[in-house]
Amino acid sequence: MAIAPPPFFKAKPPAKPVEVVKERSMLLQKEMLAKQFHDLSAAKETGRKVVYTFVPGNLSELILAFDMLPVYPEINALQWGMRKKSGSMIRDAEKYGYSEDVCTYVKCDIGMFLNGNIGPTGEKLPPPDLLLLSYTGCFTFLKWFENLQKLYPGVPVAMLHTPYAADGKITGEMVTYMVKQLEEEVIPKMEMVSGKKFDREKLSQHLGYARDSEDWISKIFALTKQKPSPIDAYFAGVYYIGPINAGFRGAESAVEYYRQLYLEVAERAAHGKTPVTPEGDLEEERFRLVVEGPPNWTHFREFWKLFYDMGAVVVASSYTKVGGLFDEGFRHDPEKPFESLARYCMGCYTNISLPERINLLERFIKEYKADGFLINSIKSCNSFSAGQLLIMRELEQRLGIPVSFIESDLVDPRYFSYANIKNRLDSFFQMMEQRKRAGSHHSEGRGSLLLPIVESEAVA
């Protein structure tokens, strides 16, 4: 006898091709990034110097103070991923000798180099004048730039080693180490490459803009504490963090962007609106989630749809903190420029210890009143992924909420299995639904989609 599925599992009718709905801020951001890529393609003509650097621990204000243009290889890679072009670049890098096992951001970047260094907008990216290795929260960054050093022989490298906040604190010695590196390694090389003298006042001015942007973005992400949440802090969140992570933090234009964005989101919140999805406003917020780990970029839209089809909204995510933990109170300080750059680098999410990551996620789950916790574990990213199963177990034990674990990759399409992820998510949503019907988050038995191989007692 056929059993009718519960209403919860009724599949939506096949979606008709719909015109993708984008918020105004998304369009504004698209313009900002497009201009940046255009400026980069014209850098040779305009004489502006180009700095390749990374998002976590980025020194945007310093780059702006020297009037240089940033290139973020991991952003190029994710943009190629979203355009479904990263796969061939990764295969080209593998043909060159890179193992299938290593980070696909790196391989996508190397593949892009091997294919003429054409950026995601189709314009050729200029080679770097400086490789600014802000080695923050990811050991692979170091290896990545060693490889770029070989591909761009003769280009100076400024290395900024960010100590790991292993003990959950930033000591004076760690700050001093970083400030000395800025003074003795980074700034002299930026002066040499740019041909400009370092201007402390200009840096402070940019740090002031950074602080203002950080104020606005913190307010924006705090609005997701409201029920229903006016935005999705993960799938839309990755758009919102674009400007602050991609070279605009410290620019006046970013302050204006985030002010506008705040007004837009606050208005949604005031009217009790749900998040905007690519298919319009979400009908109903049914599940509130906290998500750990980066998203998959190659199937971003399909991935997101798996959530909004079920009324699931991500109210907080760790990935949107890789460029800085601003909602935890950190602000760049124009009065203490170098110290605040140092503290910023050391406070990025992937640079904090595993126990601190767990504590932070616990706070997110409580403060944002999440119904469940999900980890999207990324094959490429050991910095995020190593230890995530322990994170999940700890949070499950502490809070007793439904948890789940899915796996994918950043930009390698070979590692996105729609069916596996959907199955796992369906079970997760079902578990949360049952919990909601039972009317309690905490009194029921624990729910986990991880096979309980290890007895909890053995871990303690």
């Binding site: 290395m159 292993a166 191989i453």
Partner: protein
């Protein structure tokens, strides 16, 4: 006991200690009734300054994984399939209580997996002192050197606070003497290791790479004084001709500095016609090149300077503009020094540092007209047939073709009995 029996006994004992996953030798040392105040510091690959632990009355014990000696069940529940194998074994051991008598755990910066494992140990072992040792990637004395010194001092303070009364107060003068003595012992250890490496370079058939591996690995699980004695005895035994000289090529193995290759892989490389005349298997034991001054008023400063100026080359170290040469140059130099015919790049699967180094390193070495081959392994790999075929073909190609052109450096083509 004749020399052969002595050597067999020595190797056998080293193999037992090297792969004793309960670390009985270290625990016996700690609980020696004739001594008091002893403690154990476990450390992960690659390098920590063991001299400091020794001078503080502790025994540094290398935690190098479980190899193929243990079935991993619980450890696998903590790691996704795309994380290397080493931490699974370490977690398995931790959950099985193998480290219960360890007082301190040190996690040197090498990669994100080991880094995050330090946080996992903070949760697994809240009663132990767990420290992430952030080895600097800036090699300027006033910048990276100062930071490193602070980090070492903080580590020592943390150990003292943790052990409390176990450590008796040592006046500064005595501490300087102690640390200098520890430096002396580890200098001696490195010197003796190098002498045997040189002996093996000349007479590789006298001690197989597997046997040498066991001797080196045992040194991570016993007091340095005992290991020095073993090395001394071994050096004496290797003065006599033994073994059978084969028509093997000579290779340097590179890339196996953290997760160790299974012993079966080392054996396979040898059986495929290669003498391993140098490698980076126990790189931490040979990290500092040359002696550290052992007669200064500032021995901690000497340890810091040695790290900044005399570290070996490694994927875990940032290659800035090293005065001593790039990694390619240094590896090529090692090949020439060991009169090797080629390089086998052998790295653990999912080891980002080694595997991200490999393409450019391999290209650079080949540009230096040195033959190479690359393999991947996991510490518990059990099948080596395809690797044996690949390495065998590599060996044959050098023997057959390079010999004709006169570039095969290893002369004898006749098997000797």
């Amino acid at each position: 006991m004749d020399d052969r029996s002595s050597l067999d006994a020595l190797i056998s004992e080293c193999e037992r200690v090297a792969f004793d996953l309960q670390f009985a030798r270290a625990k016996d040392w700690k609980h020696d009734p004739a001594a008091s105040g002893r403690w154990i510091a476990g450390y992960l690959p690659i390098y920590i300054p063991r001299e400091i632990i020794h001078a503080m009355g502790g025994l540094p014990v290398g935690i190098m994984g479980t190899g193929d000696r243990m079935q991993i069940i619980k450890g696998d529940a903590y790691y996704q399939s795309y994380i290397c194998h080493l931490p699974r074994g370490v977690v398995e051991l931790a959950l099985a209580g193998a480290f219960d008598e360890f007082d301190v755990f040190l996690f040197p910066s090498i990669c994100d997996v080991i880094r995050n494992l330090s946080g996992m140990f903070q949760i697994f072992r809240p009663s132990a002192y767990v420290k992430y040792l952030d080895l600097p990637q800036n090699f300027s004395p006033g910048v990276g050197g100062t930071f490193y010194r602070h980090d070492l001092e903080n580590t020592m303070d943390g150990i003292r606070r943790h052990l409390g009364d176990t450590l008796k107060h040592v006046p500064r003068g005595e501490w300087v003497a102690r640390l200098n003595y520890s430096i002396h012992l580890y200098n001696e250890n490195r010197r003796r290791i190098e002498r045997i490496v040189e002996l093996r370079q000349e007479f590789p058939w006298r001690l197989s790479a597997v046997d040498w591996y066991h001797v080196l690995r045992a040194g991570l699980a016993m007091p340095v004084e005992e290991h020095n004695n073993i090395l001394y005895e071994l050096e004496g035994l290797l003065q006599e001709e033994r073994g059978r000289k084969l028509d093997n090529i000579r290779v340097v193995v590179s890339g196996a500095f953290c997760e160790q290759p299974p012993v079966g892989l080392i054996k396979t490389i040898e059986m495929a016609g290669c003498y391993i005349v140098d490698d980076d298997f126990m790189l931490g034991s040979r990290w500092i090149e040359g002696d550290i001054p052992d007669d200064t008023d500032d021995p901690l400063g000497a340890i810091v300077t040695a790290y900044l100026d005399h570290s070996t080359f490694s994927a875990s170290l940032y290659e800035a503009a090293p005065a001593s040469g790039t990694k390619v140059e240094r590896l090529a130099e090692l090949v020439r020094k060991r009169k090797a015919d080629g390089v086998i790049f052998a790295s653990a699967s999912f080891c980002d540092p080694a595997l991200l180094d490999r393409p450019e390193l391999q290209l650079g070495i080949e540009r230096a007209e040195i033959r190479t081959i690359g393999v991947q392994y996991s510490e518990h790999t059990g099948q080596f047939k395809s690797i044996k075929e690949e390495v065998g073909a590599f060996s044959d190609s050098i023997k057959l073709w390079d010999s004709e052109s006169g570039t095969h450096t290893w002369l004898p083509t006749v098997l000797e009995g």
